[in-house]
Amino acid sequence: MVSVSAYAQAIVLLPFVSFVVALFARDNLPKGGAYSGIAATAGSLLLSLATLAAVYGGRTVNETFYTWAVGTGAQDWTLSFGALIDPLSALMLVIVSLIALLVHVFSLGYMNDEGEEDLPRYYAGLGLFTASMLGFVIADNLLMAFMFFELVGLCSYLLIGFHFREPGPPSAAKKAFLVTRFGDYFFLIGVVAVFTTFGTAAFAGAESFPHLAEAALGGDATVWTPGNMAESTWFTIVGLLVLGGVIGKSAQFPLHTWLPDAMEGPTPVSALIHAATMVAAGVYLVARMYGFYVLSPTAMGIIALVGGFTALFAATMGVVKQELKQVLAYSTISQYGYMMLALGSGGYVAAVFHLTTHAFFKALLFLGAGSVIIAMHHVEDMWEMGGLKNKLPVTYWTFLAGSLALAGIFPFAGFWSKDEILYETLIHGLNEPLLLIGYVFGLLAVPVTAFYTFRMVFLTFHGEPRSDLARDPHPVRWNVKGPLSVLGVLAVVTGGINLVPVKKVLGIKGIDVLHKWLNNDWGGIEGLSSHHYAKIGPYESGYLFGGEAATVIAGAAVSLTLALAGLALAWRLYGVADPAEHTAKLGQIRELLYNNYYQDEYQVRIADAVRDAASGADTFDQGVVDGVVNGVSSVSLLSSERIRRVQTGIVGNYALLLTLGLTTLLVVFALIGGWFQ
């Protein structure tokens, strides 16, 4: 029987092979490499499902399969690659490989059918992207995670900049890589610090860094800290350093600016980035090393606040966007903010739940948007659309399902997961005022989300067509409809994997499958379970209205009401035959929102300032540093010019100088020798 570890490696290698094939076989491939990519990701998906089943059967994996480099002596660290297959990573493997497969299929319609050039490069990029993300998911240590995290960044660069012949995509790709690189800088310091502190970067096991950190705080182990810093402080710092990478990749405030620009990439790539790979990587990383974060209340608080703030902040910007994918981009930032909020407030399961549901409905929305874009001949402005509902029924209905999920409307998937996040934040926040701020942010974002989501839906699909393109859209084929249908179903039903409120209110046992799954009920790895996190975590639960069920109902009612309110407002304003640009009424605020709170501007200004400083340094270098070098040579040559003037060419002067020299020597040595005393 093949080991689960071998499955894990094969899952990663399959898409990698498709990358290599696409890279070298190039033009000899059918469909530019799409088929090999589909085959590879389908294989990965099957193996992922098998892995999931294996984990369900209690067969988890935590083993090293390749030693990259080892130290001996004092720094006897092992830098290695290994697979950590537990309930969390098994679930994530399925999500990633499923979305990747669907994106590959969808790309047949979006890229091949649209006659794009350079398809092998595209599919090579997709393959590598998928492989990198899968490698990241199975990583059993922080270094390996970092390495694949970076590869994910590379692939996003390559894919966002796929249309390199236009000016926009290369610039967006550069920005995406650079901004996330800035976050990764902190991440890398974090990795280095983890190695230095614990001597290992393993996620799980007795010799893992979360475990050692726990032991150190409990006084059962000693670890290195810089300058004898208190361990708890140092762990907080390390956690925040790693968080830098998360903020970058998961597009949290203030490093979210790259993500909307990344819409320059082909739409299937956006789906992959937003739903399952790059952006998800950040949140997944926090979940992966959650056992470390929960040891630091400060770090948790910061995660929660950043997440909550980002959720609201990004949602507000989504309100005024005119382009379909831009709205989705901000919604992604906002939704990942929710996940961070959940993680920061102790809602580990809630975060993973939302990660799962979001993966499906966001992939669905992006692919739906892609379908619209195909239909609209690559026009993305929603004001050019309208009335597509009847022309693109499959797209419309699936898109609607996704939108309802995104808006958090009962009983779609998003409702369950978002509600659980808010619930967890609330019950923990009752004892922790900081979390309450996060909760308020999260709650306020709910109606905004519903509003912009349905503004998008109404503008795109409802009303009268507002352009010729919208009146006669390009039809889409099975390869577009198929993935949409799969995801549409998932967006509706995924909530069912974790019906916690139902359980709590009605007391039906066993319907909180995800909870039990992540609680290692069917097996898992010691120390990586939700109950372990809850045990060592900093939060106590509190309840309103005297009980758990009441709190659940109250929370759900509030958020659903707010969501419906937002939806209603959108219907009222945009659900008409010929909607007007109501955002104009917002005046100054619209400008502010439309310009993304001038976040890009200040970051550009920072970049400019750095470049100015660089030119200053260059001037300094050429003038002063090199000037000194050239100055030394000039001074030498100048003294040379002076010295050689002694040789006047007139022999009488020579005789005189010779005599003077001899006389001087005579006098000097007469004095020294005392000849004439």
């Binding site: 050689r644 003037r645 040789q647 006047t648 060419g649 007139i650 022999v651 009488g652 005789a655 005189l656 005599t659």
Partner: protein, 100 residues
């Protein structure tokens, strides 16, 4: 008997006179003659000290010096001759095309 210090004073005076001539005369022949004076100052010393030490080394060497001085003048005159041919003068300061 004249004390040897007197000879030394004399020779030094002759040497300095010769040196003075070297430094002030522009005419190549005067220059040569001044050098001869300096050499003769050495000869005075050699002979005087030869007497003082009571050996003939100094006197013998003085003869060599005189001979060499003559040879030197011979070469010198030759050079002065070609100097005159090339520069039309025997002013030693004139030949100053090479410098620095």
């Amino acid at each position: 008997m004249v004390p040897v210090e007197y000879y030394l004073l004399l020779s030094s005076a002759v040497f300095c006179i010769g040196l003075y001539g070297v430094l002030t005369r522009r005419n190549a022949l005067y220059f040569l003659m001044s050098v001869e004076l300096m050499l003769n100052a050495a000869n005075i010393n050699l002979i005087a000290f030869s007497l003082m030490w009571g050996n003939l080394t100094g006197q013998t060497f003085a003869l060599f010096t005189i001979a060499l001085a003559a040879a030197e003048v011979a070469v010198g005159i030759g050079i002065i001759l070609v100097l005159y041919r090339n520069f039309g003068d025997i002013d030693v300061m004139d030949a100053a095309t090479m410098r620095w």
